[in-house]
Structures are given as C-alpha cells and as structure tokens.
C-alpha cells in the first residue's frame, strides 16, 4: 500500500485547489465539484472495505441511502437543520453497520459479496414499499438548506460545507489507515488466514472496518441529500453500489487517493462525456474490462509507474530532488 506523506500533501493541495472553485462563480463547476467530493467520499469509504480489507461488497449503496434518507426524514419531520440532520444521518449508520456486519461478516468473501447484494436490495425494497414514510418511488423532496443552526442555501455556502467535511474526512480516514487500527485492516486484506495466529480476531477487524466504512458512506449520503434536496430509492439499487467499485478500480485500489482520482474520472465521463457520447456506460464497461485484464493498478497505478519510469530515465538532479518522496 502506498502510504507516505505524499498523500497528505496531495490532499491539502487538492483542498486548496477546490477552495478556488467558488471563485469562478460558475454554478455548473460548483455543482460538478460538489458531486465530485461527495462521490469521492463514497468511493473512499468503499475502498477501505475493498482495497484495504479485501472485502468486496455489492450493497454499499445501503449506507449511502440510509444516510441520505435519515437526513431527509429528520430535517423534514423533526428539526429543520442540515447540520443536525447530517449528524443524525451519519449516526444512523451505526446500528445498520453493526447488525448487517454482524450477520454478514462471518462468512467467506464470496458469500459476503452476495449477502451484501441481498441486504442492499432489501433496503431498496423497503424504501420503495414503505410509501408512507419514504415516499416510495417518488422519494422525498424539499430537504432544506436553510436551518435553525446553519444556513447554507447559497451555492458558495453549501459548497464550503461539503468541502469542509470532505477535507476533514479524507484526512481523518487517512490517519485511521496509518494508525495501528489501519495496520490491522491492511493485514486483514494482505493475509486474513494468518491473523488469528498473530493473536487477532479477523471478525473483529472486519467489523470495525465495516463500521468506519459505513459511517463514511453515510456521511456522503447525507451530504448528497442536503446537496440535492431530493432523495429517491435508486440510490439504494445495486447498480449504484457498483459505482464506487468502478471508481476505485479506475483510480487504483491500492493507493489511498485512488478512489478520489477514480471519482474524478467517473464524473468527467458521466457528466461531460455523456453529453457527447450517449453510450458512456459502454466506455465504462470497456474501461473496467481493460483494467481488469491489463491495468489492475488503475489510473493511479499507471501514474505511479510513469513516475518511476521518468525517474529512472532522468538525470541525477531529479533523482536527488525526488529521493525524499518514497512512493
């Protein structure tokens, strides 16, 4: 795993860059970048489970939807405030993670993957069927940006709101991975069978990883609800669960910021290219195939390889300058 302070530097640089976006005043860019940040968090949460712990899940949308719907319901029915709604949305993932995690994580990886699919679709079915509470296929609308605690109705305001959470969470998750908890997660992904013989219970590690991943995914879902103002059940459908997976693959699952890169590419493909290339999903499918067959490191991997190649072929000066950056 690539874990050096390069990542922290990159995160801060990214945050600084993102800070500049509202200055353009262009609503579209603000919109796109907000979506990018939300998807990045979703993908990062996914990669914690997939890239680091080695647990493939097809039901991750469940957390996104739980966060989104809880925030929506709370702000519409209990207290009209996005910030409080967000907190509640995030916390709502805890019982879900504990229950689902406890039931599914004791199985082998393949069965876990399929079980997450079943549970994810269970949540979807619930959202669709429970019209009185969730609005069924129409969903819920009118999620407020102006609340009693905080008012983020202007684009700049909600953009900064999202940016703040994005930066804090991205850094926080990184620190988690670098900590001793994170080391155990990486060990889990590296060789799960060895763990009991190094004195640790794999189930326990899986559980807390699932919890952290779920919390982050719900955060992204809650942000989405507030951002969009509307939630519909399709955010719980299994194909939505596949999106962070694809983003992670595109960017590279073994690099911390890989999912962020992947989210970026994904957004470009879906929004910008979609205008010109109607069949962007086709491109996506082809990209996934190409990556699995040839470039399992994703774009991140290709960038890092290119970096190495450039480094080797350059002169001593560059070698000296970059010798500090051990990627």
């Amino acid at each position: 795993m690539v874990i050096r302070d390069v990542n922290l530097a990159l995160i801060i640089a990214l945050a600084a860059l993102l800070l500049l976006v509202p200055l353009t005043g262009d609503r579209f860019y603000i919109y796109i970048t907000s979506l990018f940040m939300i998807y990045s968090l979703f993908a990062l949460s996914y990669n914690l489970l997939f890239g680091y712990a080695g647990l493939l899940s097809f039901g991750h949308a469940m957390f996104f939807a739980v966060g989104a719907y809880t925030t929506a319901l709370f702000t519409l029915k209990v207290l009209r405030d996005p910030l409080v709604g967000l907190v509640v949305g995030v916390l709502s993932s805890i019982p879900v993670a504990l229950v689902v995690g406890f039931l599914t994580l004791r199985h082998t990886r393949v069965y876990f993957a399929i079980l997450t699919l079943a549970f994810g679709m269970l949540v979807y079915a619930l959202l669709v069927k429970w019209r009185s509470v969730t609005g069924g296929t129409d969903g819920l609308i009118g999620i407020p940006k102006r609340g009693v605690v905080i008012d983020i109705s202007s684009p700049t305001a909600y953009y900064l709101f999202i940016l703040t959470f994005f930066t804090i969470t991205t850094i926080g998750l990184y620190l988690f991975i670098k900590s001793r908890w994170g080391l155990l997660v990486r060990a889990l992904g590296a060789n799960e069978d060895r763990l009991p013989f190094t004195g640790r219970s794999p189930l326990f590690i899986r559980l807390y990883t699932f919890l952290v991943s779920g919390l982050t995914a719900s955060l992204s879902g809650s942000l989405y609800a507030i951002f969009m103002g509307v939630v519909t059940p399709d955010i719980a459908y299994w194909t939505f669960s596949a999106e962070p997976l694809v983003m992670t693959l595109l960017g590279g699952a073994s690099y911390y910021l890989g999912p962020v890169l992947g989210a970026f590419i994904f957004i470009i493909l879906t929004t910008i290219l979609a205008r010109y290339a109607e069949y962007w999903l086709l491109l996506l499918g082809l990209a996934v195939i190409a990556i699995v067959i040839g470039f399992r490191g994703g774009l991140g991997g290709m960038l890092v390889s290119t970096f190495y190649i450039v480094r080797e072929r350059s002169g001593v000066w560059i070698r000296w300058r970059y010798s500090r950056l051990k990627i």
Partner: protein, 287 residues
C-alpha cells in the same frame, strides 16, 4: 381463500420460476465448472430476447427463431469466454467478478445501440394462443408451454450431465480440475462448452420471455438479482436443487404479490438473506 385465484397465481409462479430456472441453470453450471460467477449472464438472457425479436421478424417462424437465438446467444457466451474470461481464470475471484460485470455493462450498452432504448415485444404465435380451462380458470397455452419447456430443459440437462460422456467430463472438472487433467480431459474444452450450454439456455429463456413480457434495457439488472438469489439459496452447483428452488421462488414471489403486495419483493430478499445466514452453503449446497 379463492382457489381459482390461487391456481392462477400458482401457474404464474410456475412459469416465472421456469424463467428463473433458465437463467439460473447456466449460472450454476458455469460456476460449478469454472468457479466464475458470471455477472453478464442476465445480460445474455436479454440478448436472447432481442435476438428472438430480430430472427422472428426475419424468418416468421417461432420455433426456428427460438433455436437460432438460443444458439447465437450461446456462441456469444463462448466469444466472451474465449476472448476475455479465459484470461482471468488465474486471478482472484474479485477480479473475475469485476470482469464479468464489465462485460455485462458492455453487452447491455451494445444492445441499446443495436436495438434502441425502447423495449421490444413480440406477440405469441397463433398456434400457441388460446387457453385451456381448468375449473373456471383460464390458463394460457403459452404459459403451459413455458412450464413444460422448463421441465424438459431440466430433464435434459440432468440427463446430459449425469449420463453422457460430455457430462462425465463436466463432472470430473467440477470435482477436481487437476485430477481431470491427469485423466486426459481437456478442461478448456469443457469450460468453453459449458459456457455455450449455459449461455444458450439463458438465451432460450430470454427468447421465450419476449412473447410474454417486453424485453428492454434494465431487465437484465432486475433479473440478475433473482438469478443470484436462486443460485445462492440452492447452493452453487446443484442442478436439481436449482430447479426446485427456481420454481419455489417463482411461486412464493407470485403468491406474495397476490396476498401481500406491500411487501412482495421484501419477502424474497428476506428469505434469501435468512437462508444464507442460517445455511451459508445454501439449502442443497456442497461447500
């Protein structure tokens, strides 16, 4: 309880279950032999439907189109296996799943390009139209045809697997690939032919479905879940169990839709989740 209505729902459940079966049999065969869970399987089911549409409009013969579309779908499956899936046999299951997922995306999109975004529908050929009456209830010939065909497929597949030479090879590779190689069985040929059979059956399912229910983009996404649920509840790798479970799921979901429309889908997913939790190997599974 209204017995007539019950009978109707039962029949509906049986033919729905037969569709699930046609989808699940290929999935379970392919998994048993190659250990790959083919996400693209449902996409091929839909392909079968589209091909049926095209062939029927071209030839006007229902049976011929059925055969042609099934075989063509099977060949497409072989194509995907030879060109792409072969390369990932040695990779971790995660990457195999991802590859088949990518293939599913590509197939779905290609279908949209070739046949457009709107669903296609065929009408039932004249000689299959009509109903028979059982106790005040009308049951269409077509639904009976589907149920019977499903059963015939079950018998045939069972017979082929258990009684033919090819089936013997399949079972050998299923049990122990290395041992099979030692016995001079070429696993590659077995893999490819299994892909052909499995995918062709899925194609057959899609071809039959189009006369009953429009086939369009999104159908694959919806069906794959049911196929997975069947295969996983049964336990990957059991033909008899898969047939029984498919029919069961069909009937249960049909009855649920009739009796408890508020929670019909929930019931199926809940049952699936429950079974998996209690018996992770599935009801009839081996591992």
């Amino acid at each position: 309880m209204d017995l007539d209505a019950f009978l109707v729902q039962l029949i509906v459940g049986l033919y729905k279950g037969s569709f699930y079966w046609l989808l699940a049999v290929g999935l379970t065969l392919i998994f048993g032999v190659t250990r790959i869970i083919n996400f693209a399987h449902a996409a091929f089911f839909v392909t079968g439907g589209y091909l049926m549409y095209t062939f029927y409009n071209y030839t006007g013969s229902f049976i011929l189109s059925l055969v042609l579309s099934s075989i063509t779908t099977g060949l497409l499956g072989v194509l995907s296996e030879v060109i792409l899936i072969r390369r990932v046999y040695r990779l971790e299951p995660i990457y195999q799943l991802l590859l088949t997922f990518g293939i599913a995306l590509v197939v779905n999109e290609l279908q949209k390009i070739l046949w457009g975004k709107f669903p296609k529908y065929l009408s039932i050929p004249d000689y299959l139209k009509g109903y028979i009456s059982i106790g005040g209830v009308n049951i269409s010939y077509y639904s009976l045809t589907i149920i019977i065909l499903g059963f015939l497929v079950f018998l045939s597949v069972y017979a082929i697997i258990n009684m033919s030479l090819w089936g013997l090879r399949v079972r050998a590779v299923w049990r122990d690939r290395t041992m099979a190689q030692i016995l001079r069985i070429n696993p590659r040929a077995v893999y490819t032919s299994t892909f052909f059979l499995g995918t062709a059956l899925a194609g057959l399912g899609g071809s039959l479905m189009i006369a009953l229910h429009p086939v369009g983009p999104g159908l694959g996404d919806h069906l794959i879940i049911y196929a997975f649920i069947v295969v996983v509840i049964t336990g990957l790798g059991n033909i008899v169990g898969a047939y029984i479970t498919s029919l069961l799921i069909g009937v249960v979901s049909s009855l649920a839709t009739w009796l408890l429309p508020e929670v019909d889908v929930l019931i199926v997913y809940s049952i699936a989740a429950l079974v998996l939790l209690v018996r992770p190997e599935g009801l009839f599974g081996e591992r």
